[in-house]
Amino acid sequence: MTNRPMLEIVALEKRFGTNTILKGIDLKVSEGELVFVIGPSGSGKSTMLRCCNRLEEPSGGDIIVNGRNIMSGTTADLNRMRLQVGMVFQGFHLYPHMTVLDNVTLAQRKALKRSRPEADARAMDMLENVGLAHKAKAYPSELSGGQQQRVAIARALALDPKVMLFDEPTSALDPELVGSVLKVMKDLRDKGMTMLVVSHEMGFARETADRVVFMDGGVIVEEGTPDEIFGAPKAERTRAFLARVKN
């Protein structure tokens, strides 16, 4: 981990009509850092994550990826920036009409303009990393949820992103499949990937996170090391949330 900020969220605001979801979020994620975001549902953590690649359009503020502000520039610039920000969804969202291999090569070929052999080779490497090279010819409907999520991670990684966003990656999985996905995430962290993770896997946060951020009501209430947040939370809201989650 270096001190170079890879992802900076500056004064981020998001409103839906009169409903303010994010009320000025500031957060820096350094190169190689794993930042874990926790908080009650409706606290705005997923919305914050989705603003980082403008799947959700911010109402105000800036998102700076690898030193470049993605809030300015043309649509083409935005699409290029999105290649640097990998995203993993709660619902996997693999393309059902394509094989696993084509899922992982599509954006490589169409957005990065890699040749078919080059994209295939890269995809097979990524599938190897998530332990699913043998499923390259399968369709998503033939995979378990845990396998689908690992393919989704491979699909994002194949584009060589600078930052990976995880939006509750294990929430839709059966308990026995969660471990395989968390293991892939841990490997990724160990390889030095910059990661911003929204999740309820507190045990995983304790073990792997460099920093934990607690959000509630559209603001960051508290942030610190896992020991600080889980061991000695300062804010009353953090304590109340952690007490609820433990039970």
């Binding site: 799947l55 920000v85 969202h93 009409h97 169409k110 957005a111 399968a138 409907s141 033939e142």
Partner: protein
């Protein structure tokens, strides 16, 4: 026995079959030509409009929805009569086949647009998000992710609609297009025999039964993977 003999003499008179088969076959050719042109133009235009509609531009979508609603509501026969008998008074003269082609392909386009749109609407929002998040952009996601899935969903209802509308080429008989039914009715009025009409019925079966089988086949295989 007398009844059966009379039935056969009315509908399957060998002399009449020999005399009029060629005329009906010529009609088959015209039905096929117009039918294929209607299918290509109707599906093409319908697909184009449905794709445009996904961009969510209010101005365009208003016109697309108006077009689809109007052409789905109007009976094609009414439009055919207006274009063929009404337009010449306004100085625009269209041939019978052209009128038939225009009306049927616009009608098919209206239905096809709605069918493709229903296909697009059925696709999970997450599919769009996955494509956009991987840098494909809206148009890239439309073509590589959403469209193939929408086509798959749309195919069975679309084939049924294609069938319903291409059959309406028989309406050409009202404005003198020499398609199957027209050829048969002409032969029927000259000969006084119903046999040419039976020939027309057989011709329609030969043309359209394969399409019905295709629709049935497509309805039975709808999944990816484990199909």
């Amino acid at each position: 026995m007398e009844g059966l003999h009379r039935f056969l003499a009315t509908f399957f008179d060998p002399a009449m079959i020999e005399a009029h088969t060629l005329a009906v076959l010529a009609g088959v050719w015209i039905t096929l030509e117009i039918g294929l042109a209607v299918i290509v133009a109707g599906i093409g235009l319908g697909l184009l409009l449905a794709c445009l509609r996904t961009y969510g531009r209010r101005f365009f979508n208003f016109f697309i929805v108006c077009f689809a609603d109007i052409f789905r509501a109007l009976p094609p026969l009414v439009l055919i009569l207006i274009l063929y008998f009404g337009l010449p008074s306004a100085g625009i003269l269209l041939s019978g086949p052209m009128v038939l082609f225009l009306v049927l392909s616009l009608t098919l386009a209206a239905f096809a647009e709605e069918i493709f749109w229903a296909g697009f609407s059925a696709i999970d929002k997450g599919q769009w998000e996955a494509g956009i998040a991987t840098g494909l952009g809206f148009t890239g996601t439309l073509f590589h992710v959403a469209l193939p899935q929408a086509l798959r969903l749309a195919t069975p209802p679309l084939v049924n609609r294609v069938l319903a509308i291409t059959k309406m080429t028989a309406l050409g008989s009202v404005i003198g297009v020499e398609e199957v039914l027209s050829a048969a009715t002409t032969a029927q009025s000259f000969s006084g025999s119903a046999t040419p009409l039976s020939l027309a019925a057989i011709a329609y079966l030969i043309i359209f039964l394969p399409v019905v089988f295709l629709a049935r086949f497509l309805e039975t295989r709808q999944r990816w993977g484990r199909a």
